[in-house]
């Protein structure tokens, strides 16, 4: 199978293109700000930035319907912004404040929003894959025609539980899209050094799960692939695999010097393949937007990110009593 590329003249409206541009730019600017706040010591611990991979979540969110679910690993800021979670709540969780989505008790890797059907934010590589299939299991059981997007990386794709899950998802026709965000490095180990066969999208074949490889630097190609996968799931045909080739510009986490790849390699991706620049070119060359239009979007995003940063600094640290809350609940959950 060849890499799917969107057609030269995409069948997409100006408004859609502008929305993709805006949503991707929000993630990038947010992540740059998060990196800055980390540098200032306002964000602690681990912080994994999504810069470079924006087209993956923005393209797939465009393929999702209201009520569809998503779950991912620890590089999760982009997913939360793309599904409509409040940047203020996300940034305040990064700074460990009471205004954060988990009231400061989760951190960068552990945020959730039942309101937006975002089920985390998981720190154990591969563990969110059966969890995502479990959400899909519930949807099938409750017959509500929902689809779950289960995101993981090329590194997680080597975990055994991923294949345990592929087997059961196929066996039980679970409506789950397995999204492998292949950014080509599992922390510092390149795919060539960790993976016996490079085409991860083939790995469902043993279970009868179809898979496509997608250009993850092209938001339109991602959206198109997402539409196809979602239609497959919603038709009751079981799971689908999308291996989305992408690239992270920053290190694995903030403390990663990224010596395992050359500066030229990163620079080349940025200059030649950048997903945001690609949409920007489409907007300008197709006369869907003027430079001034885009400047206005830039300005709006800058304001949102700046407000989120301010909120994340001004929000108080959680009260000490919070240490002892949310260990058990008395409240029965509502059926989703």
């Amino acid at each position: 199978m060849t890499t799917r590329k969107s057609a030269k003249k995409p069948n997409v409206s100006a408004d859609e293109l502008k929305a993709y541009y805006r949503d991707m730019l929000l993630i990038r600017r947010f992540e740059e700000k998060a990196g800055q706040l980390y540098g200032m010591g306002l964000i602690g611990g681990f912080c994994h930035l999504y810069i470079g991979q924006e087209a993956v979540v923005v393209g797939l969110e465009a393929a999702a319907e209201e009520g569809d679910k998503r779950i991912t690993t620890y590089r999760d800021h982009g997913h939360m912004l793309a599904c409509g979670m409040d940047p203020k709540g996300v940034m305040a969780e990064l700074t460990g404040r009471e205004g954060g989505y988990s009231r400061g008790k989760g951190g960068s890797m552990h945020m959730f929003s039942t309101e937006k059907d975002f089920y985390g934010g998981h720190g154990i590589v591969g563990a969110n894959v059966p969890l995502g299939a479990g959400l899909a299991f519930a949807d099938k059981y409750l017959e509500n025609n929902r689809v779950t997007f289960t995101y993981f990386g090329d590194g997680a794709a080597n975990q055994g539980q991923v294949y345990e899950t592929f087997n059961m998802a196929a066996l039980w026709d679970l409506p789950v899209v397995f999204v492998i965000e292949n950014n080509q490095y599992a922390m510092g180990t390149s795919q060539q050094r960790s993976t016996s066969s490079p085409d991860i999208y083939h790995r469902g074949e043993a279970f009868g799960i179809p898979g496509d490889m997608v250009d993850g630097m092209d938001v339109l190609a991602v959206k198109e692939a997402g539409d196809k996968a979602v239609a497959h799931c919603r038709a009751g045909k079981g799971p689908y695999i999308l291996e989305i080739k992408t690239y992270r510009y920053r290190g694995h986490s903030m403390s990663d010097p990224a010596k395992y790849r050359t500066r030229e390699e990163v620079q080349k991706m940025r200059e030649e393949k950048d997903a945001i620049e690609h949409v920007r070119d489409l907007l300008l060359s197709g006369k869907h937007a003027t430079e001034d239009d885009l400047k206005a979007i830039d300005k709006e995003i800058k304001g949102i990110v700046s407000d989120a940063a301010d909120f994340s600094k001004d929000s108080a640290e959680p009260a000490e009593a919070e240490l002892w809350t949310d260990i058990y609940t008395d409240i029965a959950p509502q059926n989703a």
């Binding site: 990196g35 954060g100 059966p130 969890l131 479990g134 949310d326 959950p333």
Partner: protein, 464 residues
């Protein structure tokens, strides 16, 4: 407005670093993402990127400078239209927040909520010792197996979101026949045979609990659940906390636990102490059929994840079970299985077999033992144990698990803290031996605790 570029923290532990190299000079234009400097942290040399776009107005720290504290201004960035003359106005505006880096000692300090030592011995607690069912209720003989089966069936009848999954639970009707008849009654949608894939189906169960269902995940034995322990602890137990209370995991993990008979080291482990240590889990280890039924029904209804530790040897044992439409037992309430005044024997699960046998034999010698069945290990009913020890002044604990960091160790610590002045002898923990389980019949017997060991321990603490 001109902005200061600050010395960044580039690792969770960095406090200062070396500005190894500038990759830009004054007057250079930069845009966000451009690498502007190389900085040596405590761990590595890192590339430092610009966040904002603008012109490098002034470099404040020369390259090669060592020991530059985090958040020290290292350069000034000018926006479009600004000149280097604007620099002075910027320098005092930038905030230099001091991060609260939580040290390990902070975390350790906050963990135990220890009460300060007081001179006065504490009053005896007044635990709830109401009976589990009203006096006069009809009872019938039932095995633990039948009681567990009935609990599952009753809860599945009452709530369509309850389902059971596991290896051989449906068509085979359970490796230990716990799920007999369930497939017939509830169908394949709700009684689900899984492949042999504990890690995977435990995770699917937890995900399903987040999606609005109430899964019962059967492990053929708890030994196999070690394949799945990450999902039980990291996913089921911690998510409510990590989500700030948004998402609980209403799920029951159940199956036989501990030694059976002659099945060797990998199939003979008691996980009571392991799971009882985990905040976010509830942990049950019943002994009698009535407890198994009442507690399992409570477990299935509980909005939190419950680890339910059964025992293969007890499955076939019969007990009186109340004939009631809806019989439940609350968590955190121990049962006084035998009243006594000379010594308190605390146990749970199959350990109760030894505890009760020992008590009967000791009675023949005039030693009157009180026997407490903890029933739930998290939450644990400390009060009933303490009230009893304040009366008897002596305590022996009994369990089949290993001795290090055992449930008995925990109870000893609680008694030290809350009933020290009442103890007339050191607490003795009867446990399994500190060895993997051997296969040979004689060695296996030695590896487990026994009625004789309990009797000997009681004689020691009563000096008789």
């Amino acid at each position: 407005m001109a902005t200061e570029i600050l010395m960044p923290a580039l690792s969770p532990t960095m406090e200062e670093g070396t500005l190894a190299k500038w990759l830009v000079k004054e007057g250079d234009e930069v845009s966000s993402g451009d690498i502007i400097a190389e900085i040596e942290t405590d761990k590595a040399t890192m590339e430092f990127e610009a966040v904002d776009e603008g012109t490098i107005g002034k470099i404040l720290i020369e390259e090669g400078a060592e020991g530059v504290k985090v958040n020290t201004p290292i350069a000034v960035l000018l926006e479009e239209g600004e000149s280097a003359d604007d620099i002075d106005s910027a320098t005092s505006n930038a905030p230099a927040p001091q991060a609260d880096t939580a040290s390990e000692s902070d975390a350790a300090d906050s963990a135990p909520k220890a009460a300060p030592a007081t001179a006065k011995a504490p009053d005896a607690p007044k635990p709830d010792q109401s009976p589990d069912w009203p006096e006069g209720t009809e009872t019938k003989k039932q095995t633990v197996r039948e009681a567990i089966n009935a609990a599952i069936a009753e809860e599945m009848r009452g709530d369509q979101t309850v389902f059971i999954m596991g290896e051989e639970v449906a068509e085979y009707e359970g490796a230990y026949k716990i799920t007999q008849g369930l497939l017939d009654e509830f169908g394949a949608k709700r009684v689900i045979d899984t492949p042999i894939t504990e890690h995977g189906f435990a995770g699917i169960g937890v995900g399903a609990s987040w999606g609005g269902l109430r899964p019962i995940v059967e492990f053929m034995t708890w030994n196999f659940a070690m394949q799945a322990i990450d999902q039980i602890i990291n996913s089921a137990a911690k998510t409510l906390y990590m989500s700030g209370g948004q998402m609980g995991s209403p799920i029951v993990f159940r199956g036989p636990n501990g030694a059976a008979a002659r099945v060797g080291a990998q199939h003979s482990q008691d996980y009571a102490a392991w799971y009882a240590q985990v905040p976010g889990l509830k942990v049950v280890q019943p002994y009698s059929a009535a407890d198994a039924k009442g507690l399992l029904k409570s477990a299935i209804r509980d909005p939190n994840p419950v680890v339910f530790l059964e025992n293969e040897i007890l499955y076939g044992k019969s007990f009186e079970v109340p004939v009631l439409d809806d019989f439940t037992i609350p968590f955190g309430k121990a049962r006084i299985a035998r009243d006594g005044s000379d010594v308190t024997i605390v146990s749970f699960g199959i350990g109760m077999t030894y505890a009760l046998e020992a008590a009967e034999k000791l009675a023949e010698d005039g030693i009157d033992a009180e026997v407490i069945d903890l029933r739930t290990l998290r939450p644990m009913d400390h009060d009933t144990v303490i009230a009893s020890v304040m009366k008897t002044n002596r305590c022996v604990t009994v369990e089949e698990g290993w001795p290090v960091a055992s449930i008995g160790n925990h109870i000893s610590a609680v008694l030290m803290e809350r009933a020290f002045d009442y103890l007339d002898a050191p607490v003795i923990n009867c446990t399994g031996k500190d060895v993997p389980m051997p296969y040979a019949a004689n060695l296996e017997k030695l590896a487990l605790t026994s009625t004789d060991e309990v009797i000997e321990a009681v004689r020691k603490v009563t000096y008789r």
